[in-house]
Each structure stands twice: as C-alpha cells, then as structure tokens.
Subunit: 467 residues, 2 copies
Amino acid sequence: MIEQFAAIVGPANVLTGDAAAPWARDWTGNYEGLPAAVVRPASTAEVSQVLAAANAAEVPVVPVSGNTGLNGGAFARDAVVVSLDRMRAIREVRASERVAVVEAGVILSELHDAAEAEGLIFPMTFGARGSARIGGILSTNAGGSNVLRYGNTRQLVLGIEAVLADGRVLDLMTALHKDNTGPALGQLMIGAEGMLGVITGAVLKLAPQPRAYATAMVAVRDLDTALTLLNRLQDASGGAVEAFEYMPANYIARHLEVIAGARPPFDAAHETNILVELGATAARDATPGPDGTVPLAALLEETLAAAFEEGLVADAVVAQTEAQRREMWARRESAAEITFHRRPFVDTDIAVPLHAVQAFLDGIRARLAALDPDADDFVVAHLGDGNIHYTVYPGRDDPALMRAIREAIDDTAVGLGGTFSAEHGIGLSKLGAMARHKNPVALDALRAIKAALDPNDILNRGKTIPR
Amino acid sequence: MIEQFAAIVGPANVLTGDAAAPWARDWTGNYEGLPAAVVRPASTAEVSQVLAAANAAEVPVVPVSGNTGLNGGAFARDAVVVSLDRMRAIREVRASERVAVVEAGVILSELHDAAEAEGLIFPMTFGARGSARIGGILSTNAGGSNVLRYGNTRQLVLGIEAVLADGRVLDLMTALHKDNTGPALGQLMIGAEGMLGVITGAVLKLAPQPRAYATAMVAVRDLDTALTLLNRLQDASGGAVEAFEYMPANYIARHLEVIAGARPPFDAAHETNILVELGATAARDATPGPDGTVPLAALLEETLAAAFEEGLVADAVVAQTEAQRREMWARRESAAEITFHRRPFVDTDIAVPLHAVQAFLDGIRARLAALDPDADDFVVAHLGDGNIHYTVYPGRDDPALMRAIREAIDDTAVGLGGTFSAEHGIGLSKLGAMARHKNPVALDALRAIKAALDPNDILNRGKTIPR
C-alpha cells in the first residue's frame, strides 16, 4: 500500500513512523494516535488515485487539511491520513465577479491576504485563521466572528470540487450565484467532515472590503441589555453589525492572567463586556464629514451615548486607531488559548435562540451545581448568533462526570430550542450528542447516503454519524 | 389503493376522473396528462401515511403544491398526485427571531402578508406569488427578482420537515442560524423537486421590511453601461440594490400589445431598459431630511443624474408614488404572460457571469440565425444575477428544431461559464440538458442517493435525474 501511494505522490510525500508524528495529535490534546501513514498529494488527480487505491484495498482514510478542528474529526490512529497541505494554490481571485477559486490546502489567512489585495474580503474568520485550511473549514461548515453579517461557511461557497471514496472527481466548480441543476450535492459535502468525499477545491464568495470599521468595547448592564443594544445598532445601521461578541468578567480576568502583555478593556471591571464591530460598505457611511467624523463611527458613538444616558451602558471605549481595534480583537481571539490553558475541560459550541442565552446560563449553572459543586465554568459567545462557547472545568478528572456535564450542557441547549453544535461539527466528541438529539430519521438517511457514496466506509470511518 | 387513501385523508379528499382535471395540465400548457388520483392530505401525519401506503404498493407519487412550475416537474399522468394545497397553515411568525414556521401549502403572497403585518418581509418574490406555494418554491429552489440582495430560496431556509418515500418524517425544523449537526439534509431536499422526499413544512428567514424603496425605470446606452450603473449604485448604497431587471425594447413593445391598459415607461422607445429598486434598511437612509428628501431616493437620483451627464443614461423615471412603483413592477411581472402569449416557444432560464450577458446574446443569435432564420427571440433578465429568460419562437412547429434551439441556448450559456438552469429547475424539460451538461459523477451520485432514500423510486419518478 505504502509503495502504491509512493508511486502516486512520490516517496518523499508518504510519511510513516516519526515523520507522521505531527499528525498524531490534535491541538486540543484530547485526541492522540499515530496514523499508519500520511500521504500528501499535490493535485486533485493525485487525491483521486490515492483514494481509488485505498478504496480497492478497503483501507480507511482520514482527510486532513489544517488539523485545527476541536472535535477529533481528524483523529487517524492506524488510518491513512490524506493531507491536503500541499494543495495550497489560490487558483484565481476574480475581483469583478467577487469570487476566489482555491485548493483545499489554502490557509485561511492567505486567502484573506489575497482577497484584500483586490479590495475584497473572504468574510469567514476566527482565531485559528493562521493555520486552518479551506478543506477543513468547508468540511466542518466552520463558523466564526462575523457570521452575523455574512453567514457561515455554507453561505460563502458557490462551487465545490470533491473526490468520492472510489476516486471519482465530483466537479461542481460553478461561480454562479444562481445555478439550479438538481439537488445541491456541493452543499452536502459542506459539514460532512470528509465522510462523503474529500473536498479538493472550492469557488468562494468574496465581499467588498468595508471602507471603514467602527469598533468598540462596551460594558452593558446585562445580557438583555446587550440584545437591546444589538437591535438598536442593526436598526440604525441597516444590519451593518459584523460582530457582537460577549466576554464576561471572568473571561477578562483570565485573559489578563494567561496572556502576556494583556490589558483590561476598562478602568473598572464589569460583568457583561461586548466587543461590537460595524462595517461601512456604503461610500457615504465611510466618507468623513467636514468635521472629520466618519458617519458610521458617529452612528456607533451616538447609539452608545444614548444608551449610556439611559443607564444601559456602564462604560464604552471606541477604537480610535487600527492598533486599538486590533487589541480588542486580540482579546477575543485568545479564547481558545485561554480556555484550553486549564485542564481537564469540557468544551462546547452550543447555540440557543438569542433571547434564551441568559436562560441557558441559568439553567446549566443550576444543573452543574448539582452534578459537581467544585466545577468552574467559562463563557465566551458569538452573542449575535446565540452561539456560546460554554466550557466547564470539572472538580475532578472523571470521564463519567465529564460525560454527564457534556450531556447536561447539550440537553439544556436543546431544551431551549437550541443545538449541541453550532459551528465546530461532530467529529468524535459529539457522536453521543448526535445519537441522543439528532432526529433518528435524519441519522438513518445519513447512514443510507454514506453507504451509497462510500460503500466500503473508507472515508473518516466512525466519525460524524453514530452507529 | 383509492380506498386506502380515502381512509387516510377522507373520501372527499381523494379526487379521480374529472375531479382530478385541474391537476391534469400545467399552466405553460406544455404538459398534459390526467393523474390516476389526487390525494389531499391535511397534515404531515397524513402525508406520512399516504406515502407509506404508496411505497408499500410501489405506486408512483408526484408531490404538487401550487403547480406553477415551468418544467413539467408536476406532470403526473397515471400517477398519484399528493397535493399539499390543504396544508396552508402559517404556524408561527416569530417577529423577534425573524422567522416564519409554515406548512408546504402556504401561498407565497399569504406569507408575504403575514410577514408584513409584523414589519418584516419574506424576500422571495416573483410573478406567480399569488398561486405558487412554499413546497414547490423550496423543491425547485426558486429564484426571483431580489435574489441579488437576499439570495435564492436555499439561502432563506433554516429548517425543513420532509416525508421520505417510506413515510418516515425527517424533522429538521430548527430556527437557528448556526446549527452544525452533520451534513445539511434539509439543503439536499431543496431543489430536489420532490424526488428525495416530500417537503411538508419549513422554518423560513424573514428580513426587516425596507423602510423605504427607491425605484426607477432607466434607459441606458447598452448592457455594459447597465452593469456600470449597477456597480455604482451598489458602491454608493452598500449593496442596497434589491432588483436590477432588464427589459429590451421588444419586451416593452410586446407588453403594450398584450396587456390591456399597459403604458410605455418613457416618451421615446429605448433599446435597453432597466427596472432598478433600492431598499432602505437603515433608519437614516429612510428618514426624510429638512427638505423632505429621502436619503436613499436622493442617492438614486444623484447617481442617475451623474450617469445622464456622462451620456450613459438616456432617460430615467423615478417612482414618486407607490402606484408608480407598482406600475413599474407590474410591467416586469407580466413576463410569463407576455412570453407564453405566443406559441410555440422554447423558454429557458439560463445564467451566465454578469460580464458575459451581451456575449451570450450575440452568440446565441448567431447560432439561431443558422438554425432557423424565421425564429424570433424574446428576452427578459434578472440582469443583476446574470439570469436571462431567453425565449425563442421558432419559425415552424418542429420538435426536432425546438430541441436543437434549446440545446444551442444551453450550449452557449454553458460555454460562457454559465448554466442551463438558474432558477426554474429541471423537471422533465431539462433532462436532456442534465444529461449533456451536468458532471457525470454528480449524476451518478444523485442516482445513488435517490436509490438510497427511495429504493422503490416512487417519488416523482423520471424527473430531475436523467436515466
């Protein structure tokens, strides 16, 4: 098998033993296991040949791009990793059509740079953008910090190229916004975690780069007040809020403890801290007036001032420079580092309807107090999406307790009309939640589709769909 | 069988013979054939029982909601029509969450009214909105006149309820914007034309009702100039263009001939006429200034005036009243009536990249002149989407010629990076195009998924996927 792979991708691109070690561990540290081999194809044609060979031999394959997933989706003990990391060509940025044609191994920040060089943005962004790659981003339907304005990954994809389990190439690389030629197979590959096919390329939507941002840290009275503020800003700006991120007091405190050089957002500590950012896409929103004021920034300041007068806002700092803006974002984007600094942990990415965020926190805290009085929790949220990264540090390292905590979190979210996974996907860590909460007919339909497209079950076996 | 259905839905809701005649013909008149029976369930549970019975007997079923499709997707000669027309409950409009929970038989205009009562809109709209129903709109992934701003149907759906061929209910009725629990099965049902399941309900996104519209008819120099104008309006308004519709001179002329009481948009005839509409979602865009001018309307007028000065625009009329706006829209929305007034015709809904619209017209006209010198063509386009309804009236009623014309249109579009179906779907009329142009691996994958979910092939047999 190794020789067969070597004949396809070259011996230097088939790694085993110590050379495969970088693929043996995910960065949460929760999943470890040495792959049988890592195969690094350089093209779709090579991916096709590798999969055809693996399929003929019924050898399990785990497609991996950036290996930044948080649920064990890239765990590959004794399997063959097909790494997309050599397929990192940005084939085209067509500025006038606002699309980028990319290979699956492109690193997100590289795509950001290429788009920005044309006055455009690829809107998807999150903390791991310097190492996450397009294939994984699409395969997990990743979310991030400005889904509120631009949608999640699914909404940003026009075309897909994927290799099916038997090596056949599914070429759906359209750049059209309207293409209605049968059910959307490309959409089926998004969020499938490499289980239905290996995504090798995509045509992605770009958006005009906002001409100006208005960014602030705001301390509000409580979460309900935060939502009032969000609605006011959306009404005033016509939906220009790009991000609305919640960091409670203990997030700020942990940030100061863990991150060297970190500074507090306000002189005093506040319980409910929001990072808000508006993006000016209309020319007149970004064009400074006679007094030098940018209209969108003025709108933000006026809205905050009015809320301050009413006692809804306790303090607010509007970024006056790009450096100040970056410091605000750096605080938020340290979330994973801060969260995973303490172990053991149960991390989640649940979502609930916006109005139910406080109810979720109240509900899970009551259940947690009963389950484990020594547990601490830790919260950071894409509040504008109702998407909460709710993490628990249990009082003892006990797998049964940790499973019970995870189930309590999921149950509380689902009980409020929410979901046990908003943006990280399923992988291995949420198979139990899938079994408990996903519609059983949907699970059967997924099993039937999986069997139809990958009859030998070689692609990411055992992930995503509970048996 | 009939008795079995009658036991489920009641004898009054199983129609045969003359009573089934209203389902025997689509409104293009291209597809005629009496169904064996029409079964009208009142609930998802009844749909489930009807499908279970049909599946057990391997009886073919054609799901139908509004029967306004243009490709024969609801053609049901000798099959059992499952009509969703009794399932017309708008279960909920949750204004604060901006979602509507609806059954598949809800008529589009009824949903529009229910949303507007809450200060919201369901953005999808098109000429047949008074009879098209949600089930068909989702099953065809329908497009329309403001896809440019709000996306096509696919982008407006959060949750889906569908009954699988064997009667099991796939309940994916989430209202969350971020729900990442495995591949998106709901998305697979959208655009599947009832072939993978019968959509019975949906959770749909609503949007804030624009506080004001700025609407104009504009005569521009040519199509390239039209695109320049579109880009200027998008830049100035930050993407507030809701519709950008192209009607050439002969569209205007035919409208005056066919529609009683129709009036010309301008004193003189112009070759390239555009209906443009901007929607003000931000408060300050819609708030009249001291002189009574609405900022968004002022922006439109200023942009048009500048283009007029440059000679790009020959004439323009901005709607000053809602009645004037409605007259502009009525002209555009008569398209189907005007088009199908003359027979025989070959109608299409191709799309090409925006910059290739003129190239498409030049290309197909050259080919058409060679195929049939006596043919006339007729054009109306969602120009902002590159989506052209290109219709040909052949010089003679000759099926072989009409097929050749259709293939020439499709080939020309696909050759320019376009598609043979932008918004109407496949049904029966585009099976040939699917076979010629769809990626063969995609066709095989669709066949495998169809066989997996509907092993007896009872659902809309023979449509969408060529054999």
